[in-house]
Symmetry: C2
Subunit: 345 residues, 2 copies
């Protein structure tokens, strides 16, 4: 195969349009100091030659027009929503998004990916639910404009966008309590690290559950089983709850995937949902919406999270001095067929 013909450069465009390379550069960046006539000439030369600027070369002096998004777990069905929000907000700008796959719950992999993104001269970073310690996040933010998404806990060095997980848990408890439930149990993710207990959404949801139960006068009914945010976690959690002397009439799983395990355990044990026990999840993932499952769940404002993150990042790229902003968005409850009033016994 013949080596591809040398790529068109800014010099070619300048020659073809009979102007200086500076002029071309200015047009490319929509920078000040180019007359409409010149703009026109340059645009035409660019089109005729099919010129495309090389991001690497631009990055040597200026920007790469690239936003890096770190996703810790590409399998999490909630993340595409965030990504859609980011893309939507960036549409029409000169920026492009590239994703860095971090390992699930893998701090080392996360460090590697974020370093790689910095090395590649990204103009800004959006870190989705990072597991790295705060210090590391602040270090990153010191190098490149950064927005942290889906992790509670403020910092003056980076912007954050989170969903109000307290409110989300409250939505579920109120929904169930309004239906008439009192014995509402909760399955959460066992967390021991103090940093993460304060900042990770799962821990906040758990807090929200307790607060909401108290607010509804159900302190004595608070019943939390700590397993993990997995299908097995839900399965095991449900089995533990089914072994209680008095059964709960509703189970609030901290995540949809947990709810799936719960539904499985209940079906296996011969319980009917929602007739015997109601079940609610969190995240409103694809499978919650599956007709066959139809799981009541909390919908996080994924798209808004994404578009807010992108907006904050663009602001920060434009002006690195702006004080850190912290946006909190409100989730909504999607009631489906797994929740109903408790059977009176």
């Amino acid at each position: 195969m013949a080596s591809p013909p040398r790529r068109i450069t800014i010099v070619d465009v300048a020659k073809h349009a009979q102007v200086s390379t500076t002029a071309v550069s200015k047009v490319l960046r929509n920078a000040y100091g180019a007359s409409p006539a010149m703009r026109e000439k340059v645009q035409q030369a660019i089109a005729e030659l099919g010129y495309r600027p090389r991001a690497a070369a631009r990055g040597m002096r200026g920007q790469t027009y690239t936003i890096g998004v770190m996703l810790p777990d590409i399998r999490n069905p909630f993340f595409p929503e965030i990504l859609d929000g980011i893309s939507e907000r960036l549409r029409g700008t000169d920026y492009h998004v590239l994703l860095g796959p971090g390992g699930c719950d893998d701090e080392e992999a996360e460090t590697e990916v974020t370093d790689a993104m910095i090395d590649r001269g990204m103009d800004g970073l959006i870190l989705v639910a990072p597991v790295s310690p705060r210090a590391r996040l602040e270090h990153i933010a010191g190098i490149v404009p950064t927005v942290v998404v889906g992790r509670h806990g403020h910092s003056a060095r980076y912007d954050t966008v989170v969903d109000d997980d307290i409110a989300g848990a409250e939505l579920v408890v109120n929904h169930l309590a309004d239906l008439g439930h009192r014995r509402i149990a909760h399955i959460d993710h066992l967390e021991t690290d103090p940093d993460r207990l304060a900042e990770m959404p799962n821990a906040i949801r758990s807090d929200g559950y307790r607060q909401a139960m108290r607010a509804r006068g159900l302190v004595d009914e608070i019943d939390v089983v700590s397993t993990s945010y997995t299908q097995e976690g839900g399965y095991l959690g449900a089995q533990k709850l089914l072994a209680r002397p008095v059964l709960p009439t509703a189970i609030f799983a901290g995540a949809d995937i947990v709810a799936m395990g719960v539904l499985h355990a209940l079906a296996e044990a011969g319980f009917s949902v929602p007739d015997d026990i109601s079940v609610a999840g969190y995240d409103n993932t694809t499978f919650a919406a599956l007709g066959l499952i139809s799981l009541t769940s909390v919908d996080q404002a994924g798209r808004q999270i994404g578009s807010n993150a992108a907006r904050l990042l663009l602001d920060r790229i434009a002006d690195r001095q702006t004080p850190a902003a912290h946006v909190k968005l409100s989730p909504t409850l999607i009631a489906r067929s797994t929740t109903a009033p408790p059977t009176v016994t």
Copy 2:
């Protein structure tokens, strides 16, 4: 916030190690012409200063050590497997993976993403199930080493890695026929574009179904409903099949998501699975494995697809002259609880 201290460069390392920048560069690239003693000195200086090379600057003359992976639909639960395979194969090399989110079935978005990756000086591209026309793929391959994944149809200009969808469909038909089924219906994705009819996996699976039915002497039982590879497609397809004068005893859905729609329609119509009708999917996605669903499905060799793609790409980057390779991998059947012998009536 104070502007971050100037980043360490190769010059700093050279000074600190008392050698030339050329020497440092050679060590970085493991290139010929550096004595072990010099290597040692430079490595130490790099470690002491915490130096990290800038990919953009490297890309100006040499490589960026970046592999771009284009994913058309980040929601497709099959893609993470491929990605794992790629990452695994790349671990230990100097290459990093960045993902470009293409739009689902969106040729324009795909063009934009691939262009952006080329502009960013990626050393190689892996295109997963691209929807662009062949000519476009060959154009890309002419610019940068490219491996196309999950799309049948060869080209001399790029390597390909696919799963054997004919064999996969055959696995399903044989499984059902072995159980005693004869009236095995199939739901596929309506495809009209001739290029895609020849190259897209869904079309190949449909062919495979027909071939396998013929091979089992079930030509007269061939029954295909064309809707779309979505939950709704499965729902509608099943409704059409349930309207047949003689009902099928088994339904082979071309994708798990389609099977989910089928299961919903069957449950709604009061049919029990697998007692009344067996159902099989394709892709072995996360929800197929959910205990509550337990769907019989075909597992594509996702990890192997990924690792093969990465291997081919590295080979091609090392030597752009190697003739194009075309790898076809074999899927396996995962029998679960939605398939069983037909009830004798």
